[in-house]
């Protein structure tokens, strides 16, 4: 039988606020345990939550960016359950009335086509703390630094049909929240987390199959692997006459398997009810307008503009707009290079990205600035150096040797364009290789490359390639 996969994702994006969603404590990552948990985060008797307005601004910004409805009134509710790292015994979340509803995200598929994925809702909630089971013999440690960190839970429609689509959606969302500067997207630190609802059904069937919820998918790679392995498991199960049970499953990246955490019967009854400590969240149209005015150019618009304005390929424009930092860097290089768009794109995606990857650096930490790279590209364009020499200059810049012009000067890398000097070198090479000259003249055209190489070697790579080619052909024709 042919099966169809149905996937919906729930993504938790940690909002990049300075303080927590309901308290003034800092949200900075990595502090010593429990040093960033105030009385409110600890759930001490008598404390009350007060909503951080910045959190609302960020949620609205997200809603506008995906063309969603921003609810004029949304309500915070309590989700009640006991867990040691949940200090109040309930999580403040949004349930029946979320702040954002009915948005849309366009993703690009591998075959170059696009697909619209519905976003059912996005709601605000607080994060729980962390339980640490490793460091304490026979006991568990609780770190409440993360408790009360603001999260935006973004729930997709079950519109995704493969692990690849799920990853494309997740990447798109990852890029978007960073463009909007509402989430740092750091997946190692848990700032961007994903749960996946996965089911399969016979192709053509309308009804959804029973789904499993996969937890703990903290990288794009794991999302893809976990979904594939789960789909396989469900199909095997169904084809051998079994049934899929609704349950929560944990992905184990070491064993590359999913295993049951709890079934529907074991699930908590969360006893949601509106939190009486917080007033309904009323959002005025004026506030929405205010936030709208701060929206940056979004990835899709930017990509279209790059194709248009810089005549880039769809692929190049996609890569260059995958992050706001990358796009900004590219545009600065174009400016600094005097408008060398195609060359800028090649260098930013090529040597520059390669160097970043090699050293594990972010764009912001790059030793090469747009001004430096721009100047380098100008020198290629004005024939001061060849593309090959430029790679050497780039490496020198990367190692902190300064501006391209200084490096070219200091290392004597300026291209030789003097016809006489090139001719002299050609003569030297031809004189030293009479046999090859003979063969060439006998019709072995391929040997031209050999001569070019020899002359280049002699010039230490500085001979202008175009000139060299032209002069060499002339000489050999004599």
């Amino acid at each position: 039988m042919e099966w169809e996969t149905v996937i919906g994702l729930e993504i938790h994006a940690q909002l990049a606020t300075k303080s927590k969603i309901f308290s003034g404590a800092s949200t900075a990552y990595g502090a010593a345990p429990n040093t960033q948990a105030c009385a409110v985060d600890l759930g001490l008797p008598g404390v009350l939550p007060v909503l951080n307005k910045d959190v609302v601004r960020m949620a609205v910004k997200f809603g506008l960016a995906i063309g969603a409805k921003v609810a004029p009134r949304s309500v915070f509710a309590r989700k009640n359950y006991f867990y040691p790292d949940l200090p109040k015994g309930y999580q403040i979340s949004q349930y029946e009335l979320p702040v954002v509803e009915q948005g849309m995200l366009e993703i690009e598929l591998e075959d170059g086509s696009t697909k619209n994925v519905g976003v059912t809702r996005a709601h605000l909630e607080e994060d729980a703390g962390k339980s640490m089971h490793e460091d304490f013999e026979g006991m568990s440690g609780i770190d409440l630094n993360r408790a009360g960190t603001p999260l935006l839970e973004i729930v997709s429609e079950p519109d995704l049909r493969s692990a690849k689509e799920a990853v494309a959606y997740m990447k798109k969302l990852h890029s978007l929240v960073r463009y909007l500067e509402i989430c740092d997207g750091n997946m190692q630190e848990g700032s961007f987390r994903c749960d996946a609802n996965v089911s399969v059904r016979p192709k053509g069937q309308k009804e959804f199959g029973t789904r499993a919820e996969l937890k703990n998918l903290n990288s794009f790679r794991f999302v893809e692997r976990a979904i594939n392995i789960e789909v396989e498991r469900q199909i095997d199960l169904l084809e051998s006459g079994g049934t899929v049970v609704q349950e929560t499953r944990l992905y184990d990246s070491v064993k590359n398997e999913t295993r049951s955490m709890r079934t529907k019967e074991e699930a908590n009854d969360y006893r949601y009810f509106p939190d009486p400590d917080l007033l309904p969240l009323d959002i005025e149209p004026a506030f929405i307008d205010q936030v709208r005015a701060t929206l940056p150019e979004l990835p899709d618009e930017k990509r279209r503009r790059f194709i248009d304005e810089y005549k880039l390929s769809v692929y190049d424009a996609g890569v260059l707009t995958s992050s706001r930092e990358m796009a900004d860097f590219f545009e600065a290089v174009v400016r600094e290079s005097g408008g060398q768009a195609k060359m800028s794109a090649n260098w930013v995606m090529g040597d520059f990205s390669g160097a970043l990857n090699k050293d594990g650096l972010e764009i912001g930490d790059s030793p090469v600035t747009p001004t430096m790279l721009g100047q380098l590209l100008q020198r290629i364009a004005d024939n001061t150096i060849s593309g090959k020499i430029a790679k050497e200059v780039f490496e020198a810049m990367w190692n902190g040797e300064g501006m391209p012009d200084d490096i070219i000067e200091k290392r004597g890398l300026k291209q030789v364009t003097d016809t006489g000097a090139i001719e002299a070198m050609i003569d030297e090479v031809l004189a030293a290789n009479p046999g090859q000259v003979e063969q060439y003249k006998g019709g072995k055209d391929k040997l031209l490359g050999f001569f070019v190489g020899q002359v280049m070697k002699l010039s230490k790579g500085k001979a202008n390639p175009a000139q060299l080619n032209e002069l060499l052909k002339k000489k050999l024709a004599e």
Binding site: G46, L48, I142, R271
Partner: protein, 484 residues
């Protein structure tokens, strides 16, 4: 000095007739002598009180004294007090030393008041007799066989026995007014949102409200001047200017429109209590008020609605007491579930457990709509009763409690009978309007309270209405003989 009202003590301090240290010492001595039998205070902060009194005297010497500077008071043990045990009347928090002050505590401290200790209360404010306290029951100073009412029973008894001139209380379904009535003192439950709930341990968040308890309406007004106001740490506190609550105390009641809800004078009301209330109303007629009968048709729904909403909120509010971070933890838990079950099982008393179970049930999947949601709808109807009535009349009057103080143990085996003690007070919390209880006489030798209910944020009028009555009566000045 101990028989004086707060206003009189304030005047005496101003006139230099006494000092805060002397006054504080006087009340501390009375507490030491009289509290063991009453059990009204469960923590006495003698050293700190005397130090604070000394500072208050220095403030006065420096010319920086306000009307409350140097006056002793006690806080209900539901208000967090920094460095001092804040137990909420529960074994669960018997070991809890609050690391911060509640806003109310902070404000009264800033006004120069001297806290001498914390008062006993029903566990987590759940009770109408102060019998559910982990620290044992409080005795009513008018008759030690009788309960003082609850949940602010310790505060009411402490004031009635003159162990302190004033105290704070909290009122979720009558917990200030009912004990005030049963102990023969005055108590005000302000409009929901008027006084900050920050640092006041939550029972039912949408109903809880802190307020003052004292001898006279004037004393309540002086306290309210310091207690009321917006608090950015409490999202449900209301951003609205605080008037001078003493400004209108002297206003005449000529033409005041009083409504008597017929539902408050029907079946269940003790006939002796009814007589006292009717006499008080007669007094108001003499003061120039117009009295008419009104109706609050949904009155009988208040108790059932309350006993869905309050336990539902409580079941969630009390989830934080899990033995993990603070409070009671059972000995040698074998695993997490055992830790939860035994810590909560041993840390909470039976009434608290009863309400957690009721509330958990009411919020459960499949029952939510039938109970919690329905209760919220009826709550709106009850609120509409009051807003409609208060378009016709200025204040609503009636008995605070259907009976005088009952005897210890008399109702403790019958929760429903106990819940009915609050039949006239509960609807007020559901509506969120302010209400006050003032002493109006005695029935069978035990005090009777008159309840005065006003419109939202109309506390100044309530206090004016109370004060004018207290100018022509002396019920609020009566003292139980043993403590006189």
């Amino acid at each position: 000095m101990y028989e004086k009202t707060l206003a009189e003590l304030s005047a005496a301090l101003r006139a230099g007739e006494t000092s805060s240290v002397e006054l504080t010492q006087t009340f501390l001595d009375r507490i030491e002598r009289l509290n063991p039998d009453l059990n009204a205070l469960i923590t006495v902060t003698r050293e700190q009180a005397l130090a604070d009194a000394k500072s208050a005297d220095e403030m006065r010497a420096a010319g920086k004294a306000g009307p409350l500077t140097g006056i002793p008071l006690a806080h209900k043990d539901i208000f967090c007090t920094q460095g001092v045990r804040t137990s909420c009347g529960s074994r669960m928090l018997d070991n809890f030393i609050a690391p911060y002050n509640a806003t109310v505590v902070e404000k009264l401290k800033a006004a120069g008041m001297v806290c001498v200790g914390k008062t006993n209360m029903d566990e987590f404010a759940m009770g109408s007799s102060n019998e559910t306290s982990f620290y044992g029951p409080v005795r009513n100073p008018w008759d030690v066989q009788a309960v003082p009412g609850g949940s602010s029973g310790g505060s009411a008894a402490a004031v009635a026995a003159r162990l302190v001139p004033v105290a704070t209380g909290t009122d979720t379904g009558g917990s200030i007014r009912q004990p005030a009535a049963l102990c023969g003192i005055s108590g005000l439950k302000p409009t929901y949102g008027r006084v900050s709930r920050y640092g006041m341990i939550a029972f039912a968040s949408s109903l809880d409200q802190g307020g003052p308890m004292g001898y006279s309406a004037e004393d309540l007004a002086l306290m309210m001047n310091a207690m009321a106001g917006f608090d950015e740490r409490d999202s449900t506190s209301v951003e609205r200017e605080v008037p001078d609550y003493t400004a209108d105390l002297g206003e005449s009641l000529q033409g005041l429109k009083i409504g008597l809800p017929k539902e408050y004078f029907g079946e269940g009301l003790d006939s002796e209590v009814a007589k006292v209330v009717e006499a008080a109303v007669e007094e108001y007629r003499k003061l120039g008020a117009e009295v008419r009968e009104i109706s609050l048709p949904n009155t009988e729904l208040a108790v059932p609605v309350y006993y869905v909403i309050a336990p539902a909120e409580a079941s969630s509010n009390l989830s934080r007491y899990d033995g993990v971070r603070f409070g009671y933890r059972c000995e040698n838990p074998v695993d997490l579930e055992d830790l939860y079950k035994r810590s909560r099982g041993e840390g909470f008393g039976p009434e608290v457990k009863r309400r957690i179970m009721v509330g958990t049930y009411a919020l459960s999947a499949g029952y939510y709509d039938a109970y919690y949601l329905k209760a919220q709808q009826v709550r709106r109807m009850i609120r509409d009763d009051f807003t409609r009535a208060l378009e016709e009349v200025d204040v609503i009057m009636g008995p605070t409690s259907p009976t005088v103080a009952f005897n210890l143990g008399e109702r403790s085996d019958d929760p429903v009978q106990m819940y009915l003690s609050d039949v006239y007070t509960i609807a007020i919390n559901l509506a969120g309007v302010p209400a006050m209880s003032i002493p109006a006489g005695f029935a069978n030798g035990r005090p009777v309270g008159l309840q005065v209910i006003g419109n939202y944020f109309d506390e100044a009028r309530l206090l004016n209405v109370g004060h004018q009555y207290q100018q022509v009566t002396d019920w609020h000045r009566r003292m139980p003989e043993q403590y006189a």
